[in-house]
Amino acid sequence: MATERPSREAGLDQSEVFRGDLRAKESESGVTRRSIPAFVAGEELADLADHDGRVVVLTADLASANRLNDFAARHPERFFNMGIAEKNMISVAAGLASTGLVPFVGTFASFAALLGYEQVRTDCAYPGMAVRVLAHHSGMSLGYYGSSHHALEDLAAMRAVADLTVACASDANQLRAMLRASIDLPGALYLRLGRGRDPEVYERVPEDFRFGAATRLRDGRDVTIVTTGSEVHPSLAAAELLATRGLSVGVIDMATIKPLDVEAVRDAQTCGVVVTVEEHSVIGGLGGAVAETLCDLRSSAALLRHGVPDQYVEIGPPAALYAHYRLDPPGITEVVLTFVSSLG
């Protein structure tokens, strides 16, 4: 492995890669409040570790980028920087977990999921180890770092692993709730995070969060958007835009991809039109999970799976990519309108 890692660039200090990010500009203009999911994990875990001796944290030379150094500063004896060796890190975490500890492992989603896939499956999920993989900078959020640093297949891959919980945090407050709920979650967890700049979806920490339960964020009569993680906020914004175009659009935050909330899918399809929106390949992720479930339910609802097409994405800053692949609010709006009109 000789990959050059943008550990500093991906952190707080280097804005170059994100300079064109429209979401960031939105927040700077006061439209949304900035919150930074990946960056609260270290602090939240340190708080949890104050009262729970089982919490240990590992990273792969990314403690400054993912701010797990906030944990290291408060609990140095329970923090292990494993260097750029993700496979070893995940297996070490499994060994730690075998003694009853609860290890949280943070690295880029591309490396956690794709490089470390077998370790997650064979050493964490199969033996039922309570390893929590914090897969940050998921999707194409590393922008022009390119496909080596993108994770657009991780949900499809992880969803196929038995006894693995798969979830996506949409903002910092939900991430805190997920971290708290994860402490006593049986088995392994793959937790997909954004790049640490996701705007706020939840005004406060949703204390009632539990894995496997979706959250309806908005009611709508005409269309239901089922979304997750980084696309929850733009989907809500798109629903607002669609309202001005005469469409009543509901939004469900399907935070847990596995086990999927079947009742939420049943609820989503009652309006007759379902659109899934995710920062992931259209193959096998949230859209795939919802399609399978609609099939199982023998639903007659129309389904559009919106995500990244089955290809390696263009080079570009994140915001430009979201716009290009129509995963920003105007893009989602356009996709939904086109789909609805195609239904006649």
Binding site: A85, S91, V92, G95, L96, S98, G100, P127
Partner: protein
């Protein structure tokens, strides 16, 4: 009245049991990893009957020493030891590899008491063991963690990630045993992918190293006695030179017996050969 066996005699007896049970269980399965289990028989017996701190009545005892059979394909030799020690009823082994059995070709910790970690995919075990050793540090427990790897397994890159990290963290209670039987599946390791110089490679990552004859029980026990027990110290390597297929002439150093199947007549021949060899102290 016979006197109690010496430690070395006990280990040798149990190593014979490992080999005979490997024969028997392979017959149930219709095939078995004979030769890579025979190479490890004395090591496994020495670990379980003389070295590991265990309580078979309490398989999850937090203070126990851990053992990871990273070369999981030798599990057929480990199961009989666990049964003999009382982790489960020995009659359960009769289901070996049959539909629904807890006992597959590679060990599953969720199904078998006494298995400290599931294995099968080579290259993972040393990392798992390092995690257990670091957990001992975090939890202030002084158990040791033993990981047995195959020599062919040393070609897996993750072994060296773990070796580097173990040296970096000074995981002194981590012990890596290399079953150096010199053969992989396709041929000699030195032809397929050279493993040597094993000690020099580990030493370069900060390990302390011993090298012994893995079939000389006194040497194995001596290597165990020489192990340090301090944390924040070099992790410890024992390279055990062994013979793949040890104890059965037709299998020794024959790559074709990595996985094999004895016919009914050969079965009795080989069984007799093992028993006679053991009685001669071989």
């Amino acid at each position: 009245m016979t006197s109690a066996p010496t430690p070395a005699e006990l280990v040798a007896q149990k190593a014979l049991m490992v080999r005979l049970e490997t024969l028997r269980l392979s017959r149930i399965a219709g095939a078995g990893h004979y030769s890579g289990t025979f190479s490890a028989a004395e090591l496994l017996a020495a670990l379980y009957y003389r070295q590991l701190r265990l309580d078979p009545a309490n398989p999850r005892w937090p203070e126990r020493d851990r053992f990871i059979l990273s070369k999981g394909h030798a599990a057929i030799g480990l199961y009989p030891i666990l049964a003999d020690l009382g982790y489960f009823d020995a009659s359960l082994l009769d289901s070996y590899t049959r539909l629904g059995s807890p006992f597959g070709d590679h060990p599953d910790m969720r199904k078998i008491p006494g298995i400290d970690f599931s294995s099968g995919s080579l290259g993972h075990g040393l990392s798992i063991g390092l995690g257990m050793a670091l957990a001992g540090r975090v939890s202030r427990r002084d158990y040791r963690v033993y990981v047995m790897v195959g020599d062919g397994e040393l070609a897996e890159g993750q072994v060296w990630e773990a070796a580097m990290a173990a040296g970096h963290f000074g995981a002194g209670r981590l012990v890596c045993l290399v079953d150096r039987n010199r053969l992989g599946i396709d041929g000699p390791t030195e032809d397929v992918m050279a493993a040597e110089p094993i000690e020099a490679r580990f030493a370069a990552f900060g390990w302390s190293c011993q090298r012994i004859d893995g079939h000389d029980v006194d040497a194995v026990l001596g290597a165990f006695e020489a192990l340090g027990d301090a944390d924040y110290a070099p992790p410890q390597l024992i390279v055990a030179d062994t013979v793949k297929g040890r104890g059965v002439a037709r299998m020794e150093n024959d790559v074709n017996w990595h996985v094999g199947n004895l016919g009914p007549e050969d079965y009795e021949d080989v069984r007799r050969e093992l028993i006679e060899g053991a009685s001669r102290g071989h």
